[in-house]
Every structure is written in C-alpha cells, then in structure tokens.
Symmetry: C2
Subunit: 362 residues, 2 copies
C-alpha cells in the first residue's frame, strides 16, 4: 500500500509538523491542492474560502452549529442522507422533506413549502441537497433544476448546502456543473471529501464557501476540535503530490462502472415484475422500489438468512414514508457476489410477493 | 522517529482496517489500552464507559452538545481553559466563574453561586474543572477539596467534567486521586488525552463516564463526525503496545521537572519585588501575577520586541478580570532560552513598574 511508504516518509522527515497542532483552517498546501482539484471542475475559490474538516460529517455538524437555531427550517430531499438528517436534528432544526424526482427535487413543492412555512411564522434557513448520484437514491440533478434551485434560494434568501461526496465518481452520461460552480452570490456551501476517492479512514474533507461563511465556520470549528489531525492532512497532501490523482480516480470510475453494470444486469435477469430501480451515472448506490405493500425493514431478516444485505429505505425519509424502498451498494462486492446476491434477493422478494394478500398486490 | 516505522507497518499490514471507517465508539483495543492505563491511576471503568474522541476539545464539544441547553449554568474555575470556555459558550451556556485558590476552587463561593442561581430560577447543570496542574494557573487541587466538590455535586445533582490533560505529568509532590477515581455515583465525566504525553497531532483522546452518559455522547458523536480516524487510533495503539509507555512518560516528567526548576530559578533571580508565581508540581504552565495596575495585554508588544512571549491572563477569566496575570509555558524552550527569556521579561516588567503613577504602585 502506497500510503504506508508515504506515512513513513512524512513522519520521518516532517514529524515536528505532522505530530503537532495544525491550524483550525487546515494545512495550507492541502487546501491549495483541493482548490486546484476543484478548479478543474469549474469551482473557483480562494484560500480564504476553504476549511479542512474531519470528514464531511463534521462539515454538516459545523454548518448546523453555525447557522441553525432551534425551529429553523431545513429543506431536504426525500429520501436524503441519514448523517445529514442527524446533524440537523441535533440542533433542533425542523426538517421538511421534498420529493425527489428523476432529475432532482420537485421544485414546485419546494416553493410551496417555503411559502407555507413563512405563512406559519417559521424561519426557512437552508436547503440541503446531494445533486450528484444521490445517497441513497443514486439520481443526478439536471442542469435546469440546479439553476432553478439557485433562483429559488436567491428569491427566498436561503443558504444552499451542496454535499458532493460522489461527484468525482461519474462513470456514464454527461457532466453537469455543480451548484457551487453555478453560484454567483456566494450562497452555496460545498462539501468535498476524500472518503470515496482516497480513503474514508483519513476522515478528510473540506468545506468551500464565501469567505464570510468560512470565517464563521472556522471560529465554530475552533471550539469544536481546535484542528483536524495534522498527520492525516500531511499524508493526503503527499499522496496528491506524488501520484497522478486523476488517473487514480479514473481507475475508480471504471471499476464502479463495471460493478454498476453487473448489478443492473442481475436485476434485469432475476427481479420479478413490479420491482423498479435507478440507473445511476455515478456514485456507489442503486435505489430499488418494491411493489406497494412490501416492507423492506420487515423483510431484512429473511434476506440476511440467505446472507444478502441491503439498507432499508424508510430511515432516509424524514416524513416516515419509503417502507417499500431499499438502497443497494455495488462498491465492495465482486462481480460474482453481485450476481449471486441479486439472485438471492430476488428470491426473497418473490416469496414476499406471493405471501401478500391479493387485495394489496392487486 | 519511532512513529514513522509504526505508521509504515500499520498501513502495510492492516490497511483494510486503518484506512476504513471506524466505529463511533472507537477502536476496541485502544479503548482497552486506555482503560488499562487509567486503572493504574485508580480509575475503574468498563469498555461501555469509554469513547474515543478527536482530542479533548471534541470531548468538551460533545459534553456541551449532549447536556447543555441555552441558559444552563456551568461553573468554571477563574481562570480556566479557553477551549472549554468557547465550547460551552457555543451552546449558549451561562458561565459562572469561581475563584481558584491554591488548593482548588473557593467551594464556599461555589455553594453560594449555585444557590443564588437556583433562587433566580436558573438551571445549574455542570461543574468544569482541571484539578491537576491547571491550565492556565498550574495549581493542583487538594484531596479535601476534591472530596468536597463531589459532595456538593451530589447534593446539588450536578454533572462534573474533569479535564485531565496534564494529570500524568506530575514531577513533584504527592499523588492525589482523580475526581473520577473518587466518584461513587457515576457523575464525573473524565477527559483523557494523548496530546501532552504522545503527540497532539494525533488528536486522540477519550471520554470516560457512566455507561448511560457514554451512550448519549456516542449517539451525539455519530451525528458530529461518524468516527475518529481509524489510522491515528491504530498508530497510537501500536505505540502503546510496542513501547514502554510508563518509561516514556517518566522521561517526559523528568524533562519538564528540570525545565520548571530552571524557570523558577530564573524568576527568583530576575523578577522585581511584587511579582508572584506558582510552583506547579506537574504540567506545562506557570502562572505569574504582576502588581496591580500592570496590564499584561498592553505589555505584550514590548515583550515581543525583545523576542519573549507569554499568554495574557485576562481571556482565561470569564468575569473580565485577571489583567495583571500571565501564563508562562516551560514545555518547548531549552534551559538556556528559559533563563534568557525570563531575564528579558523581568526587564520589561521593571520598566512598566517604573512608568506606573506612584498612587497606583503604592
């Protein structure tokens, strides 16, 4: 493992730095390296507009801690990322879920909900989205919807948090610009992470936003953990400098493309009628919707008996729906395991369908 | 540097673990190693009673996030650690400072303040203390005051946060048991860290408390950062396993003892009458009180001109006092630098004293 040699050299040559306190903003050279990477993706930001975080989960926690007062309203995709739901709930925000369509949020519904909230005397504060290969749904927002979301955010003076852990992992389809790249007003907070493209164990990510926003977040971060570990920052920096990071990501993309294709092929081969799934153009997840009446949470023990696992969809919905949905990941399994796993899962689903009262399955 | 070899081996042999997600509670073996270390110090705790944190600053943040509602009262030493003040203020706690005497807080005053707070309809919630070689004051609480503090906490049903970053660094005097070791009711939350005894750059610490408390903190930590980096945890564990950690700490103790002695000798040699200082039995800091009328914040630029630095005392006081105090650290400077630094600092103080109006200096 290349990182082993890097860790040895870094500590050997640079321990007075790597084993000491870092600044709250994070390693300057690593921030520069991140900015350069993001610049290729159309995001222009300066050193004062980025802060290193201990993975994106801390970015979410810091955004919540910095901007949310109890009762503030956060608009969130339905379904959305569990960790974000938890981070916002920890600061007692009200979460309003907006249905996700194939090309992004139902923006008419978003407008309605914002206005309804204001009419009720509530305080709409931010919109949280994962526009690229969403976790859990795997979908990618269209450019039109992105532009429209920014327009709504401007009209309603809301902050937008763009969580982009899978953005670099596009393996099919056309590139779509990030909200941050389209943002002309400094109202988008962009969360970038190495967890899916280098190693989650490093817990390294960054928050990119307007200088005023970043300054506030840095002050809050200081009281939260003083600084992110200098060592992991230094290791990541060495890796980015000494390796062809673009080629590394290209390898990841082609690996995940192959796995996604295998999973879709298996779904087509084995699944009974009435089961639907997304065809993600990137990321790690595929979202499956079963016929109404099936409950993926109740079904899970039966799947586990046959040694196949998935994540039940319901916890991703802040409104308590989604009981007939599930998230499948094609990240870790081999091609053979993917085929066999989907075959077993299809068997379980067929059995469940057969056991449904005919009034419901009709 | 020994950690370089350890990092190489760890990643080489164990990267599927070290570069992946960890559990929110932290590496089981590292938690066991911490517990074993603490057991020698009289703290008996089980695996369910410890959670790894990203340095003690995160421990403070998690305690605040878990237990403090806006307006809750936190009792804190006067002076106290800046990072704790910031962590509690971030959750809108009211901080009430209690004067620190040579053997710990003025506990009569603490009782009065708690009763006064209750009479005013406030919600006293926790007491935050650094009983060993306090930052910034360098003093160590007596066993009597520790016992009395626990008694007050029990009577008033308050949580006690014991921050113990310097506890292992005793280099003189008699051992005094920690509050946690004396705690019979599970009301003490103990913060342990590797920052002062291994390397601050690892950002590794632990929070030890009753299982019920730890469970709450773990749930909050999950929404805060999911987990602390697996890599740094694995490195620390290897270091603890492969080295004589007690001998390592003994070397640190004797090094700091020598430096403390050099600083006290230099203070005795150079300081004018009216300047007072502590004689810490451990830790890294020495606390200096100048004659009234002097302001260490205003004096700092003059000291910096002569290339000697200190930390002004006032920010450590939540009540706005302490303008004539300063914190000196003997951690990093060499013995020669300590002597020369104190000599220069004494010159600056003498000049400031000479410039005082006689009415004030009398």
């Amino acid at each position: 493992m290349e990182l082993a040699r890097i860790a040895f050299q870094e500590i050997q040559e640079n321990y007075t730095y790597s084993l000491q306190y870092s600044t709250t903003e994070g390693n300057v050279e690593l921030r520069r390296a991140f900015l350069e990477f993001l610049r290729k993706d159309g995001i222009k930001a300066e050193l004062e507009e980025i802060v290193i975080t201990t993975a994106s989960q801390q970015g979410l926690d810091l955004v919540a801690k910095t901007f949310l007062d109890p009762g503030d309203v956060v608009y969130i995709e339905l379904p959305s990322y569990l960790g974000a739901i938890q981070a916002f709930r920890a600061f007692e925000a009200e979460l309003v879920g907006i249905t996700l369509e194939e090309d992004g949020m139902d923006l008419e519904r978003l407008r309605e909900q914002i206005q309804k909230g204001r009419a009720q005397g509530k305080n709409p504060k931010l919109i949280y989205v994962i526009p690229d290969f969403q976790n859990p749904a795997g979908i990618c927002w269209s450019e039109e919807k992105r532009a429209e979301l920014l327009k709504i955010a401007k009209e309603e003076d809301l902050l937008v948090v763009e969580d982009a852990p899978y953005r670099a992992l596009r393996f099919a389809g056309e590139e779509v610009p990030s909200l941050k790249a389209m943002d002309r007003e400094g109202r988008v907070v962009f969360l970038f992470t190495l967890s899916k493209i280098l190693a989650p164990g490093l817990r390294l990510a960054a928050l990119v936003g307007a200088e005023e926003i970043v300054n506030k977040v840095v002050a809050v971060k200081q009281a939260t953990d003083l600084c992110t570990p200098a060592l992991t920052q230094a290791l990541a920096l060495r890796f980015l400098r000494e390796h062809d990071f673009e080629a590394h990501i290209e390898r990841l993309r082609s690996c995940y493309r192959e796995k996604r294709n295998a999973m879709i092929a298996a779904l087509e081969r084995y699944m009974p009628e009435g089961v639907l799934w997304t065809r993600p153009e990137g990321g790690l997840f595929l979202w499956v919707t079963l016929p109404p009446g099936l409950d993926t949470e109740k079904m899970l023990p039966k799947a586990l008996e046959r040694k196949v696992a998935y994540v039940s969809g319901s916890p991703f919905f802040v409104d308590g729906t989604g009981h007939n949905t599930m998230r499948l990941s094609f990240a870790i399994a081999t091609l053979e395991q993917i085929d066999e796993g989907i075959r077993r899962l299809a068997e379980v689903i067929k059995e469940e369908l057969a056991a449904l009262p005919s009034s419901v399955s009709a």
